[in-house]
Amino acid sequence: MRWWKKNDREHDMEKEFASHLELEAEEQRAKGLSVEEARYAAQRAFGNTALMKEQTREEWGWLKLEIALKDVQYGIRGLFRSPIFTIVSVLSLALGIGATTGIFGTFEAVFLNAVTARNLGQLEHIEPGDSNVSYRCFQYLSSANIPTVEGLVAYFESGLSLRSGTEMERITGDIVSPNFFAVLGVTPAMGRAFSEDEQQPGRQPHVAIVSHGFWQRKFDARPDVLGKVIELNREVFTIVGVLPKNYRSVHGYGMSPEVYVPLSKELVGDLNDPSLGSLNLIARMQDGVTFSQLKASLGPVVQSWRQLYPGDGRYAGKIDVYPLTGIEKMRRDGIPLELTVFLLLLILVAVLILLIACANVAGLLVARGANRSREIAVRLALGAPRYRVIQQLLTETALLAFLGSCAGIALYLALATAAEKLQIRESVPFELHLHLDRTLLYFSIGLVALTTLLSGLVPALQSSRNSWHLRSNQIGAETYQRFSLRRALVVGQFALAFVLLVSASLFLRGLAKNSHADPGFNMQHLLTVEVTLNDASYSAYRSERYFERAINEISRLQGIRSVAGASTVPLGIEHWVIGSIRVNDRNVPRVFVNSVTPGYFQAMQIPLLKGRDFQADDRADSPPVAIVNQTFANAYLKGDGLSNLVYVPIAGTGTPPTFLPIQIIGIARDSKYGSLGEEAAPALYWPVSQHYSPPTLMVDSASAPASVITAIRQTLVSLEPRAPPPCQHL
């Protein structure tokens, strides 16, 4: 007989048992017993019918499955009978699981596994002595056929001016070596990756691959986007591909450049200029190659590169290799360890929430178990083995946990969808792509199992034990025991909630402190204006003159208190940090550097504590000068600090490089450079006229910035009608 014939078999057994009892009763009657007595006697001789049936059924096999199904059926009925209990428990678990997976998912998306690539573990960042390399160096390394390296790509992030109609817009793009997507193992969702014949940088026509977000934003997700052209930095690019929706860029942290274009002369200038080069390198290791093997095999190649170009001092440092994700990358990217710890704590807190949810459900189950003790006692009295009762109760909690985790995952998916829609259009577009990946799935399944055990086992054991005793009418003792467990749960819950409260308030206090942190400069009414001049048609000289005039013109506008230029915006995305400055026979390992125009300190409202500001006659041909901050002065300068000399290595002058002596002419108050949370760090300013780099204009306006934006825009357009209008943000 098969299990689906169970009903037949059940009927057969009933009939068999009945005929037995009847026969026995007949015999007893023959012995002279009354009808009634005979029936009882037969029953006595037979034993516990229900138990016999159960034992007989067990012999049929398939019983475990049937029992499980029965338990599930029974459990569902039970849950329906007490809907409030069910709803509260399911919601409680859903919140716990949703919060935990949500926070874990965010952490995973931002930090843990933040890059879309095939075999992410095979990819490593490479820094051959300098974090950024020249195109010449990249080419040399690519053609060196390093045995451990399967492929080598270069990329760098760049602001690009996108023309749409008459409007110009500043977007962020990655300029990449054409093998970029092939080596990463990323296939565009539409179209193709850059092809082999685009290996030649600067090949016409230009091609571009755009992000899914860009496609939606600019092309309304129209399917005929392939072959369409966009204009970037006044060059025409044909779109050949659209990246997958949940593509996570190699930058990590949810940063999502909107376009990808191959390296070209038009975008980066002369590729063979050795001083030019801000390429980042990523290598894909051959199968089975370890991290240290890769590092070791790079040594000789970089060494021969150094011998080939001994003048190129920037590759003098040690070779560095590190993975695309994880703590090491976060450290190098200047993500403060505190933030990592904070996020880990957040996960911990979320897990605590889940534990509280479990405790809540366990508490409810104990209470329910108490209410059901009579039912359980009856079941035990009818001969139900204790393990069956526990199994049944466990099934019920497993059902509850299952429903809870389904609801939790649904909640998580809702959160993830909401996160997808969240597009923070910072200077770099930020997109969060949470997806329920395998790690997360295992994590949730683990949580569900834990939840079932935690919230199921204890009450189940206790209920059945209680009922066992209840049978012997010892109600008093049992209620006491039950209450002691409940009290323990309440205390535990209270403790967890307290931990949560304290940690939450600490985080909030930290956040509040951070948002009130003094950056050391004026942030109110400060406007930054970034003008991109076409590099090809503007020499450094012409560009310098342009900015001089721009600053001059803008400062004469109404409502402008002061205006200045700086090559890097403090607290912006890019920082300029140099090492190996020597001063008073000491080495300064790490200095924030900024090229600024006269008036920068005034515009930023950073007080000069000593000395003077830069002046118009600090020109390229006059003695080199610099202003340092307090931290620098206190740590490295002698006397009052003024007229001390710092020695700065000149790029491209060999190993050891030639040092340029620079005289300190002023000391400025400390401010924040990289991030609000950073410790006081040494910083050095030099005049933009002596270290030219296209400045961003910093405008301190007397009135609200919005009112002066139009005026500034008009001024700049009148100065250079061909230059893309500036992008403004606070």
């Binding site: 009939k15 037995h20 516990n48 019918t49 016999m52 034992q55 012999e59 001969g383």
Partner: protein, 117 residues
């Protein structure tokens, strides 16, 4: 209570199976007859709870040692579920018999060593 019943069933299980197979060698019988037969032939010494025969019968049937069929009894106008020994059942009986003999001999050797000689 539940526990006790299970334990007793476990103790009896092997023996009970053998007794049932032995009984059915005489010809087909239904559950009640088997129970009565065992009780009678052991002079009521082996008190088998009748109900506990059925799990054993169903187990033996599932293992293919017995077949079962509802048939009308010759002396009455009623249907009973008759169990019959199969060839495999016969074989199993001899296996169990020899096992039992071995065991009985072993127990006897321990209990009454003198009588052996």
């Amino acid at each position: 209570m539940a526990k006790d019943t299970r334990q007793r069933a476990n103790v009896l299980q092997g023996t009970l199976d053998m007794l049932i197979l032995r009984t059915l060698i005489l010809g087909p019988a239904h559950g009640h007859e088997i129970g009565k037969y065992i009780q009678r032939t052991t002079d009521d010494l082996l008190q088998v709870q009748h109900g506990s025969l059925y799990p054993a019968l169903h187990r033996l049937e599932r293992r293919g040692w017995l077949t079962a069929k509802w048939e009308t009894a010759q002396d009455r106008n009623r249907q009973f579920k008759y169990y019959r020994l199969t060839a495999a059942g016969r074989k199993q009986l001899s296996v169990e018999e020899s096992k039992w003999k071995q065991m009985a001999r072993a127990v006897a050797q321990v209990m009454w060593p003198a009588e052996e000689n």
